[in-house]
């Protein structure tokens, strides 16, 4: 499946077997997106978060 990049209008590919929470990036500008899949299977892309203050192992 293909999505349009918010930053440059380029193409962002989401693989068929993608899982929610997976990161994908725009081939043209490198912008990172997080895949969000809701209960109905609707796929949306959300700009990936910056590293949060409480992130890490």
């Amino acid at each position: 499946m293909e999505f349009e990049c918010e930053q440059c209008g380029g193409q962002v590919q989401v693989p068929k077997d993608a899982l929610s929470g997976e990161l994908v990036s725009c081939k043209d500008c490198g912008s990172e997106y997080e895949i969000m899949i809701d209960e109905n299977g609707t796929i949306e892309l959300k700009a990936a978060e910056e590293v949060g203050e409480d992130w890490g192992e």
Partner: protein
């Protein structure tokens, strides 16, 4: 514990970002024919007034990168009667270096000399007693962020002042540690219950004295003696047990444990360990769920 006429353990893996680790756990569960559900917590909401989850899951592997998110997901599952790995309590202890050090120290695990101060002046006095160089760390935080090595009182004062001026109240708690003279590597052990499933050396990247893999260090399998292995296992037990990453350093008088992580990253360790780390983790979850 048999449920809904089926006795196969049902596993939930909660996560926020899907990394190598979460995928590997999912794949191993599938290879073992374990009913497994991936729960992307950002695309869900949780009903706090129900106990329905107990019919759907037996055990949770909590794998959120965000500490606060993970902590609360564990709390939700536990309240519904589902075993969470790691538990809310263990996660809360490991997320806080002060609480971790208290547990380690009380259980007699060798740990660096540590002082805590809530005031800049007291922090400098404590550092004078610890001696220089010393290390100033935030009590909350990961991947070595904001960890500073200070060579003298002047450097320490600058670091402490900048911490105290931040808006995060946790940064105002000054956690101070002796600097351990160690080789250019540290030890990362991965523990599942009472088993050491991986022990690796992590080498520090050039120009950085910290060894977090996230900062570009490299790994190599570590061969440890029985006494060292025992210390690492005891450290896991001291914080309450589960699936844990124990960080230790080789000091002049043996190993000292300085950190315990409750959401272990194992990508680096996987490339050098003889064990299948995610397989061992899933097997542990099944084992404890059946008890």
């Amino acid at each position: 514990m048999e449920k809904t006429g089926e006795n196969r353990v049902k596993l939930a893996i909660a996560y926020d970002l899907l990394r190598f680790e979460e995928k590997a756990l999912y794949n191993e569960a599938q290879k073992l024919s374990v009913p497994v559900e991936m729960m992307h917590v950002d695309s869900l909401s949780f009903d706090l007034n129900t106990s329905d989850y107990i019919d759907r899951y037996d055990v949770l592997l909590q794998r959120c990168i965000s500490h606060s998110r993970g902590l609360h997901v564990s709390a939700i599952f536990e309240a519904m009667g589902i075993l969470a790995i790691n538990s809310y309590e263990v996660s809360a202890i490991c997320d806080d270096k002060l609480l971790t050090t208290l547990r380690l120290s009380r259980k007699g695990i060798p740990t660096p000399k540590t002082r805590v101060a809530f005031n800049q002046e007291q922090a400098l006095k404590a550092l004078d007693e610890l001696g220089y160089p010393a290390v100033i760390k935030p009590i909350v935080g990961s991947w070595g962020r904001l960890v500073a090595r200070v060579r003298d009182r002047e450097e320490a004062a600058a670091v402490i002042e900048s911490r105290a001026s931040g808006s995060n109240p946790n940064d105002h708690i000054l956690y101070l540690q002796e600097y351990i003279k160690r080789p250019q590597r540290d030890i990362r052990a991965i523990v599942a219950g009472d088993e050491l499933i991986a022990t690796v050396y992590r080498y520090q990247p050039p120009n950085d004295w910290r060894t977090n893999v996230a900062r570009g260090g490299t790994s190599e399998e570590a061969k440890l003696g029985d006494a060292e292995r025992e210390i690492l296992l005891k450290a896991a037990e001291a914080v309450g047990g589960g699936i844990l990453g124990i960080d230790a350093m080789e000091g002049p008088s043996g190993i000292v444990v300085h950190e315990v992580n409750s959401t272990v990253e194992f990508r680096g360790a996987s490339t050098v360990s003889t064990n299948n780390i995610p397989r061992k983790m899933v097997e542990y979850a099944l084992r404890v769920a059946k008890r």
